[in-house]
């Protein structure tokens, strides 16, 4: 942490020397309501040219709504927007482009069946003749200029998350935007990719562009931004120069009270083997090998962390244990603590596995994609796990209702009520409901994949505490995380996946970040083999 602060100071001293920049965008008194939900209430915001502004706030504090207003997706109910000192009205995304505002959305706005270049050129009317060849070339030029790697002809459905994000960023650059908005761009990136992104952002800032970035990772805020503006519950709290800020000041501004930023780690009590995985091989739907020879043991009263670059087989591993993924080879054995018997999970259906107490709380990139139904309310979503239990032909709404209320209170879910459809909540709040529901079933094995992705710092610590609680209750917790600092602080042991293979299992108490990073990028995996195979296929064509 000291390192980043030093870097920070150096960068800021540069900034001070730069002459006072003119205001690129100013918001005054912006209000936006969704039914009863006050997403924004009298928000003021200023962004200068040649500045990176971080917009901070807890989940549901209205950051994304505010950005959507700037980019013309939503129309504000009240308030004024000024660009270069002139008041403007942004009625549609098209008008936002005319003011050279470009937004990179948290949920990618890409069309799956189009190529990268087709997505990039979509909606552009520059009067030139429409030839994909020219577009492809221009995309390559932009990629070269900023050091992106992108294949203009690749279809989006063949791309990884970070490739998709690259397309999104190039899309905005292609349009020559002067005001860039990035909504949680780093949530899906590896630390290396994040550094590359930040380098690009700094280059654009030096180019005189105004950049607004939303991220929950405070060390990123401190390292990349020049100034920080904070929202709380839809209201503007204030702004602070990054050089005057630190993590605890920012957290206090966000939450409105002091928050303890330490993760407590108890020593495991009576660890017993709970889940034994041996020599697991899996293929994904396309027939590509994603896991090979994975072996590990998860013990009760212990948090096993799983680290790895996105897409190294984490998802498949958890799904295999939960019975959702076909296993080609290997064994998954579960020691039932009640009967003391050994159960072969491979021969069980997902429902049987769940009833044994092995619970998967998977938080995919798209939070509504797995586990929750967007148009149903909180109570009904909680009920999805229990509706089949009762004997009466009628549904029992009472208990799920109480549980939903518990989740709302304990996890501080921001919602008008438990009968609000889930899709009306902001992303982070949706996630809290998902995790809260799985934990409520008192699992014997709790698997949580990216449970804090996109969550603000306060909520993240709530989730960590919940996982710790599970650990104290004697559950075997498997935690797939992205933030290496957190993995090291929270987990008892950390398993590192590299390209579908276990490249190491280290003790969380002695692990070093660098060590994990090296293990993550150990390049002897199937991924490269696949890449090679693909490359040769392409050259054959």
């Amino acid at each position: 942490m000291e390192n980043t602060e030093n870097m920070e100071n150096m960068e800021n001293s540069e900034n001070v020397e730069r002459k006072e920049n003119s205001v690129a965008l100013e918001l005054r008194g912006i209000c936006k309501y969704f039914g009863n939900v006050k997403a924004n209430e009298g928000v003021d915001l200023v962004v200068k040219k040649g500045e990176i502004l971080s917009l901070l706030g807890e989940n549901g504090s209205g950051k994304t709504t505010l950005m959507n207003i700037i980019s013309g997706i939503y129309f504000p109910d009240e308030g004024q927007i000024f660009i270069d000192g002139k008041e403007v009205v942004i009625r549609s995304p098209m008008e936002a482009f005319q003011y050279r505002i470009g937004m990179i959305h948290q949920h990618f706005k890409l069309i799956d069946v189009f190529t990268a270049a087709q997505n990039i050129v979509l909606g552009i009317k520059d009067g030139s003749r429409f030839r994909m060849k020219d577009v492809n070339q221009k995309v390559r030029d932009i990629a070269d200029k900023y050091g992106f790697i992108i294949d203009p002809k690749k279809k989006i459905y063949d791309m990884s998350v970070s490739e998709k994000q690259t397309v999104e960023i190039v899309k905005v650059l292609y349009r020559g935007a002067d005001i860039l908005i990035l909504d949680e761009p780093t949530a899906v990136l590896t630390p290396q990719e994040t550094q590359k992104l930040f380098a690009v952002l700094r280059r654009m800032r030096d180019d005189g562009k105004a950049i607004i970035i939303i991220t929950h990772k405070l060390h990123e805020v401190l390292s990349v931004s020049d100034r920080v503006s904070v929202l709380r519950k839809g209201k503007y709290v204030g702004s602070i120069e990054t050089k005057d800020a630190n993590e605890s000041i920012l957290t206090e501004m966000m939450v409105g009270k002091k928050v303890e930023l330490n993760i407590q780690r108890d020593d495991p009590v009576n660890p017993e083997d709970r889940l034994i995985v041996e020599n697991l091989d899996c293929m994904n739907r396309e027939g590509v090998k994603v896991l090979s020879g994975v072996s590990f043991t998860a013990r009760s009263g212990e948090i096993l962390g799983i680290a790895g670059i996105a897409g190294s087989g984490q998802r498949e591993l958890l799904e295999a244990i939960a019975g959702l993924q076909k296993v080609n080879n290997g064994s998954i054995r579960y020691m039932d603590p009640e009967s003391g018997e050994e159960v072969d999970l491979r021969s069980k259906t997902p429902v049987q596995i769940r009833d044994l107490g092995v619970r998967l709380s998977f938080v995919p990139e798209d939070r509504l994609g797995m586990g929750l139904v967007g148009s149903m309310d909180l109570v009904d979503n909680v009920m999805l796990r229990s509706y089949s239990k009762g004997k009466s032909p009628f549904l029992d709404r009472k208990n799920p209702g109480a549980l939903a209320n518990d989740i709302v209170t304990n996890l501080e879910v921001v919602t008008p009520g438990v009968h609000t459809p889930i899709r009306k909540l902001s992303g982070g709040n949706v996630q809290k409901v998902l995790v809260g529901r799985e934990i409520a079933s008192l699992p014997k094995v709790m698997m949580a994949a990216y449970p804090v992705r996109g969550l603000d710092i306060n909520s993240s610590y709530l989730i960590y505490n919940l996982l710790n609680e599970q650990k104290r209750n004697g559950s075997a917790v498997i935690f797939v995380g992205e933030d290496l600092d957190v993995l090291i602080e929270l987990c008892d042991r950390i398993l590192v996946l590299g390209s579908g293979k276990v490249t190491g299992i280290v003790d969380g108490r002695t692990a070093k970040k660098e060590e994990l990073g090296l293990l993550m990028t150990k390049t002897v995996g199937i991924y490269e083999e696949n890449q090679k195979a693909q490359a040769s296929e392409e050259s054959n064509e």
Binding site: S71, M94, K109, I111, V113, G123
Partner: protein
């Protein structure tokens, strides 16, 4: 055989109009099940226009070729377009359920057609008008089987093929086509990219309906030689099935429509089968459509799937 193939093409063109119209609409993300009704209304509109024009002349036999054709086609497209406008207003602006709206339009359209044809159209003029529509190239008869199969048709056949080719080019090669496909795949993305989603949806629902309506006109004026027959709507359903059969590609739909035409008239062409067996044969187009649907689902290639947001309403501020 030559007669069979000629007949297959002749009937197939009815499907081709309906199919290309429906493809254009579906590419904008709207599943228009009103096509059967729209084709009926298209036929009605064309007949109405032609009969009004001929009725206004002192001698109906002196009608000008160009003018009669133009009036027929334009009034057909106009009335079908109005049906498309009703559908567009209900499903795009009012965000009504597309399936229900489409089915209502089919019922409404067939009913309206029957009323107008009985009450307002001088059907005695249609046979004469038909001779204009069926006029083929003078040298078609001299080119043997080739001329018979491909060149002996009225002008609407070639207009249909031209429309299909233009639609294919539009979808694959132009900026407008790219934007249109984006609207049908993911309107939120298209909107964020600065495309006027509502305008595209309206434009292509209207164009699609107009094109489909010309299929009804063709069926009455060319295929049936001006004799009136109810039940155009049953052909409309086949046109919708053809959209699936040809994987939402106008270029493939030219060939596909001939295949459907052949399958449909197979029941009349095979000698010595009972009426019941004829009805069985008439189901062939649906059977092959189901087979195509199953095969493409198994293959699961994204390009052969319907537009991703087909049938869904779009509202920008919806969360």
């Amino acid at each position: 055989m030559v007669v069979f193939l000629t007949g297959a093409i002749a009937l197939g063109v009815t499907f081709l109009f309906g199919c290309v119209g429906e493809i254009l609409t579906e590419k904008a993300g709207h599943l228009n099940l009103g096509i059967p009704g729209i084709m009926s209304v298209g036929a009605m509109g064309g007949c109405l226009g032609v009969s009004l024009y001929m009725g206004a002349l002192s001698d109906p036999n002196n009608a000008s070729y160009i003018l009669l054709l133009l009036i027929g086609i334009l009034s057909s497209a106009f009335f079908a377009g109005i049906m498309g406008l009703i559908y567009a207003f209900l499903t795009i602006s009012m965000r009504a359920n597309q399936n229900v709206t489409g089915l209502i339009l089919t019922i409404f359209g067939t009913g309206l057609t029957e009323f107008v044809m009985e009450a307002k159209v001088d059907r005695s003029l249609l046979a004469k008008a038909s001779t204009y529509f069926t006029q083929s190239l003078p040298f078609a008869g001299k080119l043997g089987w080739f001329g018979e199969i491909f060149l002996s048709h009225g002008i609407l056949v070639y207009i249909a093929i031209a429309i299909a080719i233009v639609a294919a080019w539009l979808l694959q090669k132009t900026r407008i086509g790219l934007s249109l496909r984006a609207v049908g795949e993911n309107p939120a993305t298209a909107d964020a990219a600065g495309i006027n989603v509502t305008a595209y949806k309206y434009a292509f629902t209207l164009i699609g309906a107009a094109v489909a309506g010309m299929g009804g006109l063709y069926y009455i004026m060319d295929y049936l030689k001006g004799s009136w027959e109810y039940g155009i709507d049953s052909l409309g359903w086949l046109a919708i099935a053809l959209v699936i059969f040809t994987l939402w590609r106008p270029d493939l739909s030219i060939l596909g429509s001939f295949v459907f035409g052949a399958l449909y008239i197979a029941s009349y062409s095979i000698m010595g089968i009972s009426f019941a067996q004829m009805q069985l044969l008439k189901m062939l187009p649906y059977v092959v459509t189901v087979i195509v649907l199953i095969v493409t689902s198994i293959v699961g290639k994204k390009e052969t799937q319907p537009p991703a947001s087909l049938g869904l309403s779009y509202f920008r501020e919806d969360r």
